[in-house]
């Protein structure tokens, strides 16, 4: 098969050559743009365009209208319409995110390879920045919906955070509601479990639950809040508000996880416990993004002042036994 450079055009008909294919996602492919290393192109699959092309295009257009200078820096927002060589709309161009997926940070065995020298201050720094970006989106009436650590990029040794895969976000524009049609049950609050993602209306309260899972996974180096010894899968535990780390619980997974938990300030532990137990059922009981921001700002200060340990307990550093979990 002959290899030929794919050519796309912008809305003025100017042609551009695509570079390497960088990703193959569920809905389309991401390409580099030749001569512009900072820009990438999302090209929806032909079958996706056949089925939902008009809908996707309307949503992307609505997003383009909403953009502002801040948003385009922190979020890989659709910026430029892209057409194929026959001038059919096939997707959009956006800035390329820098950094490493948060999934590699929230991983006890991998973080050192991807984030050398990482300590609690850095994690809290990324999380604060992440919350600020989420708050900025919420102020613009946008909800992320599909919270996924692989869609959050962090630049090692800085506090930069960039979000990718934004064309799935939920927004309202000129009286039209554009749902977030994707998600994963492991990150979805109880009130939205079992509902088709495209029929869900996300709210700051539902977002606060998913956001708390992201925070927990980062501070706990990859543990999901609803991973429970001898329990069911995380989704069933989530539906029951079955959170292992609350008071009087005994089902924390073995290892250094409980030690990691104990290192967190009490205020933050309380917020997790409330959000993941009573808050699973009662959205109004969940800690809000503003409360998380305040608590983590306070934690960062205490870390800076040396009042809390900055070090991350390594899961292998300590052979823990059941004694640690007993209360």
């Amino acid at each position: 098969m002959a290899l030929r450079a794919r050519v796309v055009t912008d809305s003025l008909g100017k042609t551009r050559r695509l570079g390497k294919r960088l990703e193959r996602g569920g809905e389309g492919e991401i390409f580099a743009l030749q001569e512009r290393p900072d820009v990438i192109v999302k090209w929806y699959y032909p079958e996706v365009l056949d089925k939902r092309g008009d809908e996707l295009r309307r949503k992307v257009e609505a997003m383009r209208e909403l953009r502002d200078a801040h948003m385009t820096r922190d979020v890989c927002w659709p910026l430029i319409r892209v057409f194929d060589d026959e001038h059919r709309w096939i997707g959009f161009a956006m800035y390329r995110a820098r950094g490493v997926r948060m999934g590699f940070l929230a991983h006890a065995l991998l973080y050192q390879r991807y984030f050398p020298g990482l300590d609690r201050r850095h994690i809290v720094g990324y999380l604060l920045r992440f919350i600020e970006v989420v708050q900025q989106l919420h102020r613009a009436g946008v909800c992320i919906g599909d919270y996924n650590l692989n869609n959050i990029f962090c630049v090692p040794s800085t506090q930069e955070v960039t979000l990718i895969d934004c064309d799935s976000y939920q927004l309202r524009m000129g009286g039209t509601f554009y749902p977030c049609p994707v998600g994963s049950p492991d990150m979805t609050p109880k009130e939205h479990q079992g509902v088709a993602f495209r029929d869900i209306v996300r709210s700051p309260r539902s977002e606060a639950f998913s956001l708390a899972i992201v925070l927990f996974k980062c501070l706990m180096l990859g543990r999901h809040p609803y991973d429970i010894v001898g329990g069911d899968d995380p989704v069933r535990n989530l539906r029951r508000g079955n959170f292992a780390y609350g008071r009087g619980q005994r089902d924390v997974p073995q290892g250094a996880w409980y030690a990691l938990w104990r290192e967190l300030p009490e205020s933050i532990r309380d917020m997790f416990v409330t959000t993941f137990t009573v808050g699973a059922n009662a959205p109004s009981r969940r800690a809000t993004t503003a409360q998380w921001h305040a608590a983590l700002t306070d934690y960062r200060q205490r870390l800076e002042d040396g009042k809390c340990s900055r070090e991350l307990t390594r899961p292998s550093a300590q052979q823990t036994t059941q004694v640690l979990h007993a209360r």
Partner: protein, 222 residues
Amino acid sequence: MATYQLNSSSDLIENPSPRCACMLVLDTSASMFGQPIRELNSGVQAFISAIKEDDMAACSVELGVITAGGKVTEQLPFTTAMNISQCRRFVASGLTPLGAAMDLALDRLEERTAAYRKAGVAYYQPWLVVISDGVPTDQWQAASARARSLAQQRKMVVMPVGVEEADLDALGAFSTRPAKRLDGLKFREFFLWLSASMSRVSASASTTEQVRLPPTDSWDSI
């Protein structure tokens, strides 16, 4: 065996990734002698290397290998891909006790998922891949009913693959999905597809939902 259990138990404690168990049941009977067994061996090696190149998948995929060639042999007990240094090369000989091999595979998968639950480790639907170039030469009906029922309940993905003159009906009986026929000896292409599928599963934030798999046109034939 003892060392393996020691490693695996600390692995379930230290590694927070949700797991995807992937058991390969391979027909290594005498009819696989020559080119087929060589291609199968290099395909399995390519699979392990490809998984290890993807850090997320390497932490998530646990590979087990059982061969049916003359007798049933557990070549590799479930091991997280990042901890696999090498997998033995298989030799082709004897008949095809595929029924017994599948029974053992199902036992091992059950034990493994029980260990995940006990350790509080989330897991994706386990995969059971069975590859054969013939017909099972032992009693296989009970094992196939057991595998098919687990596939029906969505507790397991069972993927039967036939090579050359394989009996696709017998292989298909192990699953709810029809057996696919490998195009020639494209073991390598098959295993690269399998590793791409495993990468996609382990990149998914969802342990309970089906993942869209890459197309199989690089290796299957009609």
